[in-house]
């Protein structure tokens, strides 16, 4: 069945391949990276791609490929942790608002409306300016500022689900509200949340890259795709490899997550599922 599904959704298959490769890269970075990503070698700076340095070297003589491989750790962990945080907050807020309704719902949704009025990226920039840039801070800040969409989505799902008969049945059994939410409502709302999470990882990676590019993200010498771009921008005209490879890496990763997310959406949407399997 899985094979058949992938043959009908080749894009999701390729998304899966990209993400799997990326995860493997991040996990095995210390073994597969040909050079130390932060050791400088000023005699070998700005070398174009060659047999020794597949992706060339940067202005301090560091191997671009090695930095790219280590950078995948930052991108991947920022994506995963930030999204986990905001899925957690968003799901909690959304399910409480949807399940209890009334003034609880009103208050929480107005809070969401207020947060939605503020451009998230500028909010993140501002907070980073106060707390200082570090990987942990970036993860947490992306997490606590981006949960609004998830909250709205989960609230909508819960609003629809709580009218279903099996929720009424759970109440008749004498089940506590918290248990109804955790055991009966959320598992049924998981599909769309999973899709949003997958798509969100790509978004979080972009935000991290943007922050690092602006110098407010991962700090040198730790390599991240964003700060590689930032360092490479001064050599746009004479060392194309400094910008091209990290740019490609970001592009491919975000693409991979988006393809995977789109595929999951098709897989979990019963209306589309039928047509996908024929």
């Amino acid at each position: 069945m899985i094979k058949r599904f992938f043959s009908h959704h080749p894009l999701m298959f390729w998304g899966g391949v990209i993400i799997t490769l990326l995860v493997l890269c991040a996990l095995t970075a210390q073994w597969i990276a040909p050079y130390d990503p932060i050791r400088q070698n000023l005699t070998q700076n700005l070398l174009p791609p060659s047999i020794h340095h597949w992706m060339g070297t940067d202005q301090y003589g560091r191997d671009v490929l090695s930095r790219l491989i280590y950078g995948s750790r930052v991108s991947l962990s920022v994506g995963l942790v930030a999204v986990s945080i905001y899925i957690l907050i968003g799901t909690t807020v959304g399910s409480v608002a949807g399940y209890y309704g009334g003034w609880v719902d009103g208050a929480l949704m107005r809070l969401v409306d207020i947060l939605l009025c503020i451009p998230t990226f500028f909010l993140i920039l501002m907070v980073i300016a106060f707390v200082g840039p570090s990987i942990i801070n970036i993860m947490v800040i992306i997490g606590v500022t981006s949960w609004t969409d998830v909250a709205r989505l989960v609230r909508g799902e819960v609003l629809a689900l709580k009218e279903r008969e099996f929720i009424q049945a759970a109440r008749v059994i004498g089940m506590k509200d918290s248990r109804i939410i955790l055991r009966h409502l959320l598992p049924n709302a998981l599909g769309p949340v999973l899709v949003v999470a997958t798509l969100g990882i790509g978004g979080a990676i972009l935000v991290e890259s943007s922050l690092s590019f602006l110098g407010l993200g991962v700090q040198p010498p730790t390599p991240s795709w964003g700060n590689m771009l930032e360092e490479g921008k001064d050599h746009l005209t004479d060392a194309w490899w400094l910008i091209t490879f990290p740019g490609m890496a970001i592009f491919l990763t975000v693409l991979g997550y988006n393809l995977l997310g789109e595929g999951l959406r098709d897989l979990l949407d019963p209306r589309l599922r039928g047509s996908g399997r024929q």
Binding site: E165, F166, Q168, A169, G174, M175, R179, R183, H184
Partner: protein, 325 residues
Amino acid sequence: MPELLCVRNLKVSLRDPPTGREGWVLRGVDLRMEAGERVALVGESGCGKSVTALSILRLLPRPPMEISSGQIEFKGRDLGNLTREQWLEIRGREIGMVFQEPISSLNPVMPIGEQIAETLRNHSGLSTGEIRARTLSLLAQVGLPDPPRLLSQYPHQLSGGMCQRAMIAMAVACGPSFLIADEPTTALDVTVQTQILDLLFRMTEEQRLAVLLITHNLMIVRGHADRVVILYLGLVVEEGVPGEIFRHPQHPYTEGLLAALPEVSHKGRPLYNIPGVVPSPFEDLKGCAFADRCPRVERKCRESAPPLLETRKGHQARCFYPSGK
């Protein structure tokens, strides 16, 4: 037999938010049940059958509905002023409920066995092993084949009848003394209906369980109830043992219901139906609720509301002119 449930003059109001109008879903329902008794609550759609059941469990959709007056006693205990925690103890443990749509009443993403186990876990201090054993024996009791395999099966893999059996297993899992069955067979195949009813009543006999069977189908009442209560527009219009009701219906509404049964209608003639429509809950009633549809209506019926009176032995009707008089 000791009294199990006593509902006195239960009134439930309904508010229509856009207009702010207030209507009545229940206009004063009285219902008494004894331990182990099977009572059928009969009436057409919108007469307040399900609302009565949900009021007993205090699970009315609020808003728009609200219990505005009346008293509900269960085992001599007033259910009107219980705390949230006390309610969690009563629901499922003391009172169980079976719903109309068996498939949608089960969580689609949870295996059947797990759902029954949830109920047990919720109310008893049993260990995991004991819960498993009890779940298996419950599944076998309700006549489901191959219980071990069912433990890990999902509702969509089962038929409607099997799901309803699983629902019954869930409802009786914690050994309640009162079961509400809200149209348990309406969504099922005719051939399965009898099986489910038989199962329901076999279980009730074994466990001395009182059942409030809510239905709009008079035929299934015949062999399966000790007493029939007929509801019309939020009022009990007739009450008695099934034999009495079928042979000597007193209220014109009951007569109409009986005449509309396909089994009773004469071959070759069109099916009888009661003329007119059920008045809306927002209508202000001065006289008898059935006056506009009644073939025996007199001026008195439109001026004052008839009380529920004993017209024959063990048989009450809410009519000024019961048949036979």
